[in-house]
Subunit: 288 residues, 2 copies
């Protein structure tokens, strides 16, 4: 879809997560507010379905007669089922994401997670860098994703990471994901410290991912061993920070966006320093 | 120069540091590389001086016959003296900043610090948040700037902060500034951890400030008392983090860009959390 990127270095991961060409997209709006962006081809497919979709000046919108979040959610869900049946989008996940005008804004509708990138709607997630301070230096817990995962099978991941479903607060989701993914008791999960965000805009075959990742640092006791409970992680390993950094820099073994959350960790903990030639571009590139 | 900003909140400080209208600026370039931006009025004044300044397609450049950094530095310094004599720019500071195509790139010339914003050249600096972990919570050392300072007299500042002069490495400048501003011995200063950058683009009466601040966190022992040695700081106070946050949020008592370095500290240390309505805009706004 785009020109090739170099095969080593940190910055290439930032660039990979920000490759996009918006010229092939039109706005998806609700009640006059742009909430996403759709490929023109997908937009035309939606318009052949008819209601609830209507063309508007910027692209596509929902019928204004749909009164409120529940009515919009139901009408779109029904259309999504037809798109799945027609093979336009993959099967739904049964996990609903919120569609809003921005983080903390009122819910406009909910949409199945599988459809979110097709509509270019902002997806929120949380990523926890679980680390241990050992006498010989900082160590990071690394999860190897199960081989049967739809996204990034077998690739390395943070100790805990997950999309933000509608109807849960971030701390609630943190506790849930920390238990499911790493067997962390709630009281331990809630010691995770929010430390900022990574944001990027990535074009994929299916559409557009304007993602927001809320980052947490979680310092773990030396004797704690994470244990996956939901089958999403094959195994956990505790890596010295230098091994983590070299792996991110020199391989493509990590889930695409986890490269960014790890680079942010390396910067905030002083492992990546201003004398690195990519430092300033990395600091800037992790936010958009 | 611009519309008014609200008088409370964190985000107004980010916006204040990023207010600019580039339509009144033209490029300042060296050997075909844009290294700054000058107001059209200032550019015209420079062109009346003649050499070393020449008009080019994008705005203004230096005579290509000036061979190398030393020749450019000398020729521009001579022109600056005339501008000072004519009252166009304030008196020079005697502290030289490097002009490059980017951080870590080869030096193209040096320019007196006082002239840098007139040429819209990127200025680099370092800011150290000096903090103490007390049983009752995080505390931050706050410096009150001397009343005779040219910039931000009497306002609050980081424990250590300073512009990055040409010819010093960042660690060298850290050691120098830490001693001059806060009486920190070198071995203590060098325990400061680089934790990222704050970058902004601010238009001022004199021109444009596309500034890059390298941030350091320095955890200090509970019994260390900073002591200013160069007269730039009137006094230091150790504030609980909640007092720091409230002061930044509700007052204009802090030097304009120190608001941003403190907000970054509040985010990285989990004091400002994702449930704050400005959180995402703050995370994004601290880099550009």
């Amino acid at each position: 879809m785009f020109d090739n990127l170099p095969t080593t270095g940190f910055l290439r991961h930032v660039r990979a997560c920000n490759r996009h060409d918006l010229s092939g997209f039109r706005a998806f709006s609700i009640e006059g507010v742009t909430v996403g962006q759709v490929r023109t081809g997908f937009m035309e497919r939606l318009l052949t379905l008819g209601l609830p979709f209507l063309p508007d000046a910027g692209g596509i919108t929902l019928h204004p007669g749909l009164d409120g979040p529940q009515a919009r959610t139901r009408a779109v869900a029904s259309a999504l089922e037809r798109l799945v049946a027609d093979g336009v989008i993959p099967r739904l996940r049964g996990e609903m994401y919120g569609v809003t005008a921005g983080w903390g804004q009122p819910l406009l509708m909910e949409m199945d997670r599988a459809a979110v990138p097709f509509f270019g709607v902002t997806a929120y997630g949380l990523h926890v860098n679980g680390f241990v301070r050992r006498p010989e230096g900082l160590h990071l817990w690394v999860g190897k994703r199960a081989m049967d995962r739809g996204v990034a099978p077998g690739q390395y991941d943070n100790l805990v990471a997950g999309g933000q479903p509608a109807g849960l607060s971030l701390p609630e989701n943190l506790v849930k994901e920390a238990w499911e993914e790493a067997g962390l008791p709630a009281e331990m999960a809630l010691t995770a410290v929010p430390v900022g965000t990574v944001t990027y805009l990535m074009e994929q075959e299916k559409g557009l991912k304007p993602d927001v990742l809320f980052l947490y640092d979680l310092e773990l006791p030396a004797d704690f061993i994470p244990r996956n409970t939901d089958g999403e992680v094959e195994r956990f390993e505790l890596w010295p920070i230098a091994k983590v950094a070299a792996s991110v820099r020199d391989s493509d073994d990590w889930k695409f966006n986890v490269n960014l959350t790890v680079i942010d960790f390396l910067i905030r903990h002083g492992w990546l320093t201003p004398d690195h030639p990519e430092y300033l571009d990395l600091c800037r590139g992790l936010r958009r």
